[in-house]
Symmetry: C2
Subunit: 238 residues, 2 copies
Protein backbone atom coordinates (compact mmCIF):
# COMPACT_ATOMS: atom_id res chain seq x y z
CA UNK A 1 0.00 0.00 0.00
CA UNK A 2 2.80 2.41 0.86
CA UNK A 3 6.49 2.41 1.60
CA UNK A 4 8.91 4.93 3.02
CA UNK A 5 12.62 5.27 2.54
CA UNK A 6 14.38 7.49 5.06
CA UNK A 7 17.63 9.26 4.29
CA UNK A 8 18.53 6.96 1.41
CA UNK A 9 21.74 7.29 -0.52
CA UNK A 10 21.46 8.05 -4.22
CA UNK A 11 21.79 4.43 -5.21
CA UNK A 12 18.89 3.38 -2.99
CA UNK A 13 16.86 6.37 -4.11
CA UNK A 14 17.49 5.50 -7.73
CA UNK A 15 16.21 1.95 -7.23
CA UNK A 16 13.17 3.11 -5.33
CA UNK A 17 12.20 5.85 -7.79
CA UNK A 18 12.80 3.73 -10.87
CA UNK A 19 10.44 1.09 -9.55
CA UNK A 20 7.77 3.57 -8.50
CA UNK A 21 7.52 6.06 -11.35
CA UNK A 22 4.20 5.82 -13.25
CA UNK A 23 3.14 3.09 -10.79
CA UNK A 24 2.85 4.91 -7.51
CA UNK A 25 2.16 8.31 -6.14
CA UNK A 26 5.60 9.47 -5.05
CA UNK A 27 6.70 12.18 -2.67
CA UNK A 28 10.30 13.20 -2.19
CA UNK A 29 11.49 15.59 0.47
CA UNK A 30 14.97 16.77 -0.32
CA UNK A 31 17.41 19.63 -0.61
CA UNK A 32 17.40 20.55 -4.26
CA UNK A 33 18.02 23.24 -6.80
CA UNK A 34 15.78 23.59 -9.81
CA UNK A 35 16.07 24.86 -13.34
CA UNK A 36 13.03 25.31 -15.54
CA UNK A 37 13.34 26.13 -19.20
CA UNK A 38 10.42 26.31 -21.60
CA UNK A 39 7.40 28.61 -21.83
CA UNK A 40 9.34 30.79 -19.43
CA UNK A 41 12.45 30.03 -17.45
CA UNK A 42 13.28 29.97 -13.77
CA UNK A 43 15.99 29.14 -11.30
CA UNK A 44 15.49 28.08 -7.69
CA UNK A 45 18.52 27.91 -5.43
CA UNK A 46 19.33 25.06 -3.06
CA UNK A 47 16.66 24.57 -0.39
CA UNK A 48 14.56 21.76 1.09
CA UNK A 49 11.38 21.16 -0.91
CA UNK A 50 8.56 18.70 -1.34
CA UNK A 51 8.39 17.00 -4.72
CA UNK A 52 5.38 15.05 -5.95
CA UNK A 53 5.45 12.68 -8.91
CA UNK A 54 2.05 11.45 -10.06
CA UNK A 55 1.07 8.44 -12.12
CA UNK A 56 0.22 10.55 -15.16
CA UNK A 57 3.64 12.21 -15.19
CA UNK A 58 2.58 15.34 -13.32
CA UNK A 59 5.57 16.74 -11.49
CA UNK A 60 4.99 19.24 -8.69
CA UNK A 61 7.40 21.07 -6.40
CA UNK A 62 6.17 22.83 -3.27
CA UNK A 63 7.78 25.16 -0.79
CA UNK A 64 6.17 26.05 2.51
CA UNK A 65 3.66 28.65 1.44
CA UNK A 66 1.04 29.21 -1.26
CA UNK A 67 -1.47 26.93 -2.85
CA UNK A 68 0.51 27.02 -6.09
CA UNK A 69 3.66 24.98 -6.57
CA UNK A 70 7.01 26.71 -7.02
CA UNK A 71 7.70 24.69 -10.14
CA UNK A 72 5.82 22.01 -11.99
CA UNK A 73 5.28 20.07 -15.13
CA UNK A 74 1.76 19.09 -16.29
CA UNK A 75 0.41 15.58 -16.93
CA UNK A 76 2.05 13.68 -19.76
CA UNK A 77 5.55 14.68 -18.81
CA UNK A 78 8.33 12.18 -19.45
CA UNK A 79 10.14 11.68 -16.16
CA UNK A 80 13.73 10.49 -16.00
CA UNK A 81 16.02 9.82 -13.07
CA UNK A 82 19.63 10.73 -13.73
CA UNK A 83 22.31 9.20 -11.53
CA UNK A 84 25.07 11.77 -11.78
CA UNK A 85 24.39 14.41 -10.70
CA UNK A 86 21.31 12.89 -9.08
CA UNK A 87 18.43 14.57 -10.85
CA UNK A 88 14.72 14.21 -11.46
CA UNK A 89 14.17 15.42 -14.99
CA UNK A 90 10.76 16.18 -16.47
CA UNK A 91 10.65 16.65 -20.23
CA UNK A 92 7.78 17.68 -22.44
CA UNK A 93 7.50 18.36 -26.15
CA UNK A 94 4.83 20.76 -27.38
CA UNK A 95 5.53 22.98 -25.72
CA UNK A 96 9.19 22.07 -25.55
CA UNK A 97 10.22 22.44 -21.95
CA UNK A 98 12.06 20.74 -19.15
CA UNK A 99 12.20 20.83 -15.39
CA UNK A 100 15.49 19.79 -13.88
CA UNK A 101 15.44 19.03 -10.16
CA UNK A 102 18.87 18.32 -8.85
CA UNK A 103 18.78 16.52 -5.50
CA UNK A 104 21.59 17.20 -3.06
CA UNK A 105 20.36 15.53 0.09
CA UNK A 106 17.30 13.32 0.34
CA UNK A 107 15.42 13.25 3.63
CA UNK A 108 12.75 10.79 2.67
CA UNK A 109 10.91 9.25 -0.24
CA UNK A 110 7.44 7.74 -0.05
CA UNK A 111 5.42 5.83 -2.56
CA UNK A 112 1.81 4.79 -2.35
CA UNK A 113 -0.86 3.01 -4.30
CA UNK A 114 -3.76 5.37 -4.75
CA UNK A 115 -7.14 4.48 -6.20
CA UNK A 116 -9.14 7.55 -7.16
CA UNK A 117 -12.47 7.90 -5.39
CA UNK A 118 -15.71 9.37 -6.67
CA UNK A 119 -15.84 13.13 -6.95
CA UNK A 120 -18.74 15.45 -7.58
CA UNK A 121 -18.69 19.23 -7.86
CA UNK A 122 -21.73 21.48 -7.96
CA UNK A 123 -22.44 25.16 -8.28
CA UNK A 124 -20.47 26.18 -11.36
CA UNK A 125 -21.69 28.19 -14.32
CA UNK A 126 -23.38 25.21 -15.96
CA UNK A 127 -25.85 24.96 -13.09
CA UNK A 128 -26.53 28.67 -13.40
CA UNK A 129 -27.42 28.46 -17.09
CA UNK A 130 -29.41 25.27 -16.58
CA UNK A 131 -31.59 26.98 -14.03
CA UNK A 132 -32.49 29.64 -16.59
CA UNK A 133 -33.19 27.09 -19.31
CA UNK A 134 -35.66 25.39 -16.99
CA UNK A 135 -37.29 28.67 -16.14
CA UNK A 136 -36.68 31.45 -18.69
CA UNK A 137 -39.02 33.75 -16.78
CA UNK A 138 -36.17 34.20 -14.31
CA UNK A 139 -34.79 36.54 -17.00
CA UNK A 140 -37.97 38.10 -18.30
CA UNK A 141 -41.54 37.17 -19.14
CA UNK A 142 -42.12 35.69 -22.55
CA UNK A 143 -38.47 34.82 -23.18
CA UNK A 144 -38.02 31.73 -25.33
CA UNK A 145 -34.82 29.70 -25.27
CA UNK A 146 -33.50 28.89 -28.73
CA UNK A 147 -30.06 27.40 -28.22
CA UNK A 148 -27.45 26.63 -25.62
CA UNK A 149 -23.76 27.08 -26.52
CA UNK A 150 -24.47 28.82 -29.80
CA UNK A 151 -21.22 28.90 -31.72
CA UNK A 152 -20.08 31.97 -33.65
CA UNK A 153 -16.73 32.95 -35.15
CA UNK A 154 -16.44 35.48 -32.33
CA UNK A 155 -16.97 32.97 -29.54
CA UNK A 156 -19.55 30.72 -27.98
CA UNK A 157 -22.80 32.29 -26.80
CA UNK A 158 -23.97 30.84 -23.47
CA UNK A 159 -27.64 31.08 -24.36
CA UNK A 160 -29.53 32.37 -27.38
CA UNK A 161 -33.17 33.34 -26.90
CA UNK A 162 -35.98 35.37 -28.37
CA UNK A 163 -38.00 37.94 -26.48
CA UNK A 164 -41.78 38.47 -26.59
CA UNK A 165 -41.31 40.86 -29.54
CA UNK A 166 -39.49 38.23 -31.56
CA UNK A 167 -36.11 39.95 -31.12
CA UNK A 168 -33.12 37.66 -30.61
CA UNK A 169 -31.53 37.90 -27.17
CA UNK A 170 -27.87 36.98 -26.76
CA UNK A 171 -27.11 36.08 -23.17
CA UNK A 172 -23.82 35.79 -21.33
CA UNK A 173 -23.82 34.37 -17.80
CA UNK A 174 -21.42 35.01 -14.98
CA UNK A 175 -21.68 33.15 -11.73
CA UNK A 176 -19.85 35.93 -9.93
CA UNK A 177 -19.68 39.71 -10.19
CA UNK A 178 -19.43 40.63 -13.86
CA UNK A 179 -16.34 42.53 -15.00
CA UNK A 180 -15.21 44.52 -18.04
CA UNK A 181 -14.18 41.27 -19.63
CA UNK A 182 -17.68 39.86 -19.38
CA UNK A 183 -19.06 42.94 -21.14
CA UNK A 184 -16.47 42.62 -23.90
CA UNK A 185 -17.34 39.00 -24.34
CA UNK A 186 -21.02 39.77 -24.76
CA UNK A 187 -20.19 42.65 -27.06
CA UNK A 188 -18.26 40.31 -29.35
CA UNK A 189 -21.25 38.04 -29.70
CA UNK A 190 -23.58 40.97 -30.37
CA UNK A 191 -21.34 42.28 -33.14
CA UNK A 192 -21.84 38.92 -34.82
CA UNK A 193 -25.52 38.84 -33.88
CA UNK A 194 -26.18 42.09 -35.69
CA UNK A 195 -24.64 40.68 -38.84
CA UNK A 196 -26.61 37.45 -38.49
CA UNK A 197 -30.00 38.51 -37.13
CA UNK A 198 -30.10 42.24 -37.79
CA UNK A 199 -31.51 43.83 -34.68
CA UNK A 200 -30.77 41.87 -31.52
CA UNK A 201 -30.23 42.37 -27.81
CA UNK A 202 -27.22 41.58 -25.65
CA UNK A 203 -27.96 40.64 -22.07
CA UNK A 204 -25.41 40.08 -19.33
CA UNK A 205 -26.77 37.94 -16.50
CA UNK A 206 -24.89 37.96 -13.20
CA UNK A 207 -25.41 38.49 -9.48
CA UNK A 208 -23.72 41.90 -9.73
CA UNK A 209 -21.48 44.04 -11.94
CA UNK A 210 -18.60 46.43 -11.39
CA UNK A 211 -19.25 50.12 -11.94
CA UNK A 212 -16.87 50.43 -14.89
CA UNK A 213 -18.35 47.37 -16.50
CA UNK A 214 -21.84 48.81 -16.13
CA UNK A 215 -20.75 52.06 -17.78
CA UNK A 216 -19.15 50.24 -20.67
CA UNK A 217 -22.20 48.03 -21.05
CA UNK A 218 -24.50 51.06 -21.34
CA UNK A 219 -22.13 52.68 -23.78
CA UNK A 220 -22.40 49.62 -25.98
CA UNK A 221 -26.20 49.46 -25.75
CA UNK A 222 -26.12 46.20 -23.88
CA UNK A 223 -28.29 45.20 -20.94
CA UNK A 224 -27.65 43.86 -17.47
CA UNK A 225 -29.96 41.49 -15.63
CA UNK A 226 -29.18 40.96 -11.98
CA UNK A 227 -29.74 37.33 -11.03
CA UNK A 228 -28.44 35.37 -8.10
CA UNK A 229 -29.25 31.75 -8.66
CA UNK A 230 -28.85 30.56 -5.10
CA UNK A 231 -31.12 33.29 -3.82
CA UNK A 232 -33.67 32.36 -6.48
CA UNK A 233 -33.64 28.71 -5.48
CA UNK A 234 -34.33 29.48 -1.85
CA UNK A 235 -37.03 31.85 -3.00
CA UNK A 236 -38.74 29.04 -4.87
CA UNK A 237 -38.32 26.67 -1.95
CA UNK A 238 -39.83 29.01 0.61
Amino acid sequence: MFSILQEPDFSQAYQFLSNSIYNRLITVFADCDIIYEGRASSIATLAPRLIIIKLDGSLIVHENVKREPLNWQPPGTKILIIKEPFTILGIRRKPKEELRIRLHNIYYITSALVKDGEFKLEGDEIDFVNAVIKNPNLIENGLKIIQREYRTPYGIVDLLGEDSNGIKVIMEFKRRRASLQAVSQLHRYVIYGHKQFGKCRGLLVAPSITENALNLLRNLNLEFKQLNIKAKITQFVS
Copy 2:
Protein backbone atom coordinates in the same frame (compact mmCIF):
# COMPACT_ATOMS: atom_id res chain seq x y z
CA MET B 1 14.55 18.72 10.26
CA PHE B 2 11.86 16.17 9.57
CA SER B 3 9.91 13.46 11.30
CA ILE B 4 7.68 10.64 10.16
CA LEU B 5 4.87 8.88 11.93
CA GLN B 6 3.80 5.57 10.39
CA GLU B 7 0.33 4.14 10.84
CA PRO B 8 -0.44 6.23 13.91
CA ASP B 9 -3.68 5.92 15.81
CA PHE B 10 -5.86 8.99 15.99
CA SER B 11 -4.53 10.03 19.35
CA GLN B 12 -0.94 9.99 18.15
CA ALA B 13 -1.93 11.73 14.95
CA TYR B 14 -3.72 14.42 16.91
CA GLN B 15 -0.63 15.13 19.00
CA PHE B 16 1.63 15.19 16.00
CA LEU B 17 -0.60 17.44 13.90
CA SER B 18 -1.38 19.83 16.72
CA ASN B 19 2.32 20.40 17.32
CA SER B 20 3.15 20.80 13.63
CA ILE B 21 0.40 22.99 12.22
CA TYR B 22 1.67 26.45 11.16
CA ASN B 23 5.19 25.36 12.20
CA ARG B 24 6.05 22.67 9.72
CA LEU B 25 5.27 21.58 6.23
CA ILE B 26 2.99 18.59 6.81
CA THR B 27 1.99 15.74 4.55
CA VAL B 28 -0.63 13.17 5.47
CA PHE B 29 -1.36 10.07 3.47
CA ALA B 30 -4.66 8.59 4.51
CA ASP B 31 -7.99 7.12 3.52
CA CYS B 32 -10.40 9.99 3.70
CA ASP B 33 -13.66 11.42 2.47
CA ILE B 34 -14.00 15.11 1.80
CA ILE B 35 -16.77 17.66 1.82
CA TYR B 36 -16.26 21.14 0.45
CA GLU B 37 -18.85 23.86 0.88
CA GLY B 38 -18.35 27.45 -0.16
CA ARG B 39 -17.92 29.12 -3.55
CA ALA B 40 -19.18 25.83 -4.95
CA SER B 41 -19.64 22.50 -3.22
CA SER B 42 -18.15 19.06 -3.69
CA ILE B 43 -18.09 15.59 -2.25
CA ALA B 44 -15.26 13.07 -2.57
CA THR B 45 -15.90 9.52 -1.42
CA LEU B 46 -13.58 7.42 0.72
CA ALA B 47 -10.21 6.84 -0.95
CA PRO B 48 -6.51 7.15 -0.16
CA ARG B 49 -5.20 10.66 -0.78
CA LEU B 50 -2.21 12.88 -0.14
CA ILE B 51 -2.90 15.91 2.04
CA ILE B 52 -0.51 18.85 2.37
CA ILE B 53 -0.75 21.47 5.10
CA LYS B 54 1.50 24.47 4.63
CA LEU B 55 2.75 27.03 7.11
CA ASP B 56 0.51 29.77 5.74
CA GLY B 57 -2.63 27.66 6.16
CA SER B 58 -2.76 26.41 2.58
CA LEU B 59 -4.49 23.06 2.52
CA ILE B 60 -4.09 20.85 -0.53
CA VAL B 61 -5.47 17.40 -1.37
CA HIS B 62 -4.06 15.38 -4.25
CA GLU B 63 -5.14 12.20 -5.97
CA ASN B 64 -2.91 10.32 -8.38
CA VAL B 65 -3.37 12.39 -11.52
CA LYS B 66 -3.45 16.02 -12.63
CA ARG B 67 -1.38 19.02 -11.68
CA GLU B 68 -4.37 20.49 -9.89
CA PRO B 69 -5.42 19.28 -6.46
CA LEU B 70 -8.76 17.54 -5.99
CA ASN B 71 -9.68 19.91 -3.20
CA TRP B 72 -7.90 22.76 -1.51
CA GLN B 73 -8.09 25.83 0.64
CA PRO B 74 -5.94 28.89 -0.12
CA PRO B 75 -3.40 30.57 2.20
CA GLY B 76 -4.83 32.14 5.33
CA THR B 77 -7.14 29.26 6.08
CA LYS B 78 -7.83 28.45 9.73
CA ILE B 79 -6.98 24.80 10.23
CA LEU B 80 -8.52 22.74 13.00
CA ILE B 81 -8.03 19.12 14.00
CA ILE B 82 -11.19 17.50 15.30
CA LYS B 83 -10.87 14.34 17.36
CA GLU B 84 -14.21 12.67 16.76
CA PRO B 85 -14.73 11.91 13.97
CA PHE B 86 -11.07 12.51 13.21
CA THR B 87 -11.11 15.42 10.80
CA ILE B 88 -8.87 18.08 9.31
CA LEU B 89 -11.07 21.14 8.96
CA GLY B 90 -10.09 24.20 6.94
CA ILE B 91 -12.25 27.27 7.46
CA ARG B 92 -12.17 30.61 5.68
CA ARG B 93 -14.33 33.71 5.90
CA LYS B 94 -14.64 35.94 2.85
CA PRO B 95 -15.48 33.96 1.00
CA LYS B 96 -17.19 31.82 3.61
CA GLU B 97 -16.15 28.27 2.93
CA GLU B 98 -14.91 25.15 4.58
CA LEU B 99 -13.10 21.99 3.63
CA ARG B 100 -13.79 18.99 5.80
CA ILE B 101 -11.36 16.08 5.42
CA ARG B 102 -12.47 13.12 7.46
CA LEU B 103 -9.65 10.66 8.02
CA HIS B 104 -10.54 6.97 8.29
CA ASN B 105 -7.16 5.32 8.21
CA ILE B 106 -3.84 7.11 8.37
CA TYR B 107 -0.88 5.51 6.62
CA TYR B 108 1.72 8.10 7.47
CA ILE B 109 2.25 11.68 8.51
CA THR B 110 5.41 13.66 7.89
CA SER B 111 6.46 17.07 9.04
CA ALA B 112 9.48 19.07 7.95
CA LEU B 113 11.16 22.37 8.49
CA VAL B 114 11.44 24.13 5.16
CA LYS B 115 13.33 27.32 4.48
CA ASP B 116 12.33 28.93 1.20
CA GLY B 117 15.16 29.34 -1.29
CA GLU B 118 15.73 32.07 -3.86
CA PHE B 119 13.52 31.97 -6.91
CA LYS B 120 13.71 33.87 -10.15
CA LEU B 121 11.37 33.63 -13.11
CA GLU B 122 11.95 35.17 -16.53
CA GLY B 123 10.14 35.37 -19.82
CA ASP B 124 6.71 36.56 -18.81
CA GLU B 125 4.76 39.42 -20.35
CA ILE B 126 6.64 42.07 -18.38
CA ASP B 127 9.86 41.12 -20.12
CA PHE B 128 8.07 41.28 -23.44
CA VAL B 129 6.82 44.83 -22.87
CA ASN B 130 10.15 45.92 -21.41
CA ALA B 131 11.93 44.82 -24.55
CA VAL B 132 9.69 47.10 -26.61
CA ILE B 133 10.13 50.04 -24.24
CA LYS B 134 13.86 49.71 -24.67
CA ASN B 135 13.55 49.53 -28.42
CA PRO B 136 10.27 50.96 -29.80
CA ASN B 137 11.51 50.40 -33.34
CA LEU B 138 10.70 46.72 -32.80
CA ILE B 139 7.12 47.87 -33.37
CA GLU B 140 7.61 50.51 -36.02
CA ASN B 141 9.98 53.31 -36.91
CA GLY B 142 9.40 56.63 -35.21
CA LEU B 143 7.22 55.21 -32.44
CA LYS B 144 7.50 57.10 -29.17
CA ILE B 145 6.60 55.51 -25.85
CA ILE B 146 4.38 57.72 -23.70
CA GLN B 147 3.26 55.57 -20.79
CA ARG B 148 3.38 52.06 -19.40
CA GLU B 149 0.29 50.69 -17.63
CA TYR B 150 -1.94 53.57 -18.68
CA ARG B 151 -5.10 53.33 -16.59
CA THR B 152 -8.53 53.89 -18.08
CA PRO B 153 -12.03 53.12 -16.81
CA TYR B 154 -12.14 50.34 -19.39
CA GLY B 155 -8.96 48.66 -18.24
CA ILE B 156 -5.20 49.07 -18.09
CA VAL B 157 -3.36 49.72 -21.34
CA ASP B 158 -0.07 47.82 -21.53
CA LEU B 159 1.69 50.56 -23.44
CA LEU B 160 0.62 53.94 -24.80
CA GLY B 161 2.66 55.46 -27.60
CA GLU B 162 2.56 57.99 -30.41
CA ASP B 163 3.44 57.27 -34.00
CA SER B 164 5.51 59.39 -36.38
CA ASN B 165 2.34 61.26 -37.40
CA GLY B 166 1.58 62.23 -33.84
CA ILE B 167 -1.32 59.75 -33.59
CA LYS B 168 -1.72 57.94 -30.27
CA VAL B 169 -1.07 54.21 -30.42
CA ILE B 170 -2.70 51.94 -27.85
CA MET B 171 -0.80 48.67 -27.56
CA GLU B 172 -1.80 45.38 -26.02
CA PHE B 173 0.83 42.65 -25.68
CA LYS B 174 0.40 38.91 -25.61
CA ARG B 175 3.30 36.62 -24.97
CA ARG B 176 1.51 33.76 -26.72
CA ARG B 177 -0.87 33.41 -29.67
CA ALA B 178 -3.47 36.17 -29.43
CA SER B 179 -7.11 35.15 -29.16
CA LEU B 180 -10.54 36.78 -29.50
CA GLN B 181 -10.25 37.88 -25.92
CA ALA B 182 -7.05 39.82 -26.61
CA VAL B 183 -8.76 41.66 -29.46
CA SER B 184 -11.70 42.54 -27.21
CA GLN B 185 -9.36 43.81 -24.58
CA LEU B 186 -7.63 46.13 -27.03
CA HIS B 187 -10.96 47.21 -28.43
CA ARG B 188 -12.09 48.30 -24.97
CA TYR B 189 -9.09 50.54 -24.60
CA VAL B 190 -9.58 52.01 -28.05
CA ILE B 191 -13.21 52.87 -27.32
CA TYR B 192 -11.89 54.93 -24.44
CA GLY B 193 -8.98 56.24 -26.50
CA HIS B 194 -11.32 57.69 -29.11
CA LYS B 195 -13.17 59.60 -26.43
CA GLN B 196 -9.94 60.81 -24.87
CA PHE B 197 -7.64 61.45 -27.82
CA GLY B 198 -9.98 61.61 -30.78
CA LYS B 199 -8.32 59.63 -33.52
CA CYS B 200 -6.04 56.86 -32.27
CA ARG B 201 -4.75 53.45 -33.27
CA GLY B 202 -5.11 50.10 -31.54
CA LEU B 203 -2.24 47.68 -31.98
CA LEU B 204 -2.14 44.08 -30.83
CA VAL B 205 1.40 42.78 -30.45
CA ALA B 206 1.90 39.01 -30.26
CA PRO B 207 3.89 36.19 -31.82
CA SER B 208 0.76 35.02 -33.66
CA ILE B 209 -3.02 35.35 -33.75
CA THR B 210 -5.93 32.99 -34.34
CA GLU B 211 -7.84 33.34 -37.59
CA ASN B 212 -11.09 34.41 -35.94
CA ALA B 213 -9.28 36.92 -33.81
CA LEU B 214 -7.64 38.41 -36.89
CA ASN B 215 -11.00 38.74 -38.60
CA LEU B 216 -12.53 40.44 -35.61
CA LEU B 217 -9.54 42.73 -35.30
CA ARG B 218 -9.88 43.89 -38.90
CA ASN B 219 -13.61 44.36 -38.41
CA LEU B 220 -12.88 46.70 -35.54
CA ASN B 221 -10.21 48.65 -37.45
CA LEU B 222 -7.46 47.45 -35.17
CA GLU B 223 -3.98 46.38 -36.18
CA PHE B 224 -1.82 43.34 -35.55
CA LYS B 225 1.94 43.40 -35.22
CA GLN B 226 3.64 40.04 -35.24
CA LEU B 227 6.50 40.02 -32.76
CA ASN B 228 8.30 37.15 -31.15
CA ILE B 229 10.58 38.52 -28.49
CA LYS B 230 12.82 35.50 -28.14
CA ALA B 231 13.44 35.43 -31.86
CA LYS B 232 14.26 39.13 -31.72
CA ILE B 233 16.78 38.66 -28.96
CA THR B 234 18.67 35.98 -30.84
CA GLN B 235 18.51 38.22 -33.89
CA PHE B 236 20.24 40.99 -32.01
CA VAL B 237 22.79 38.59 -30.63
CA SER B 238 23.69 37.10 -33.98
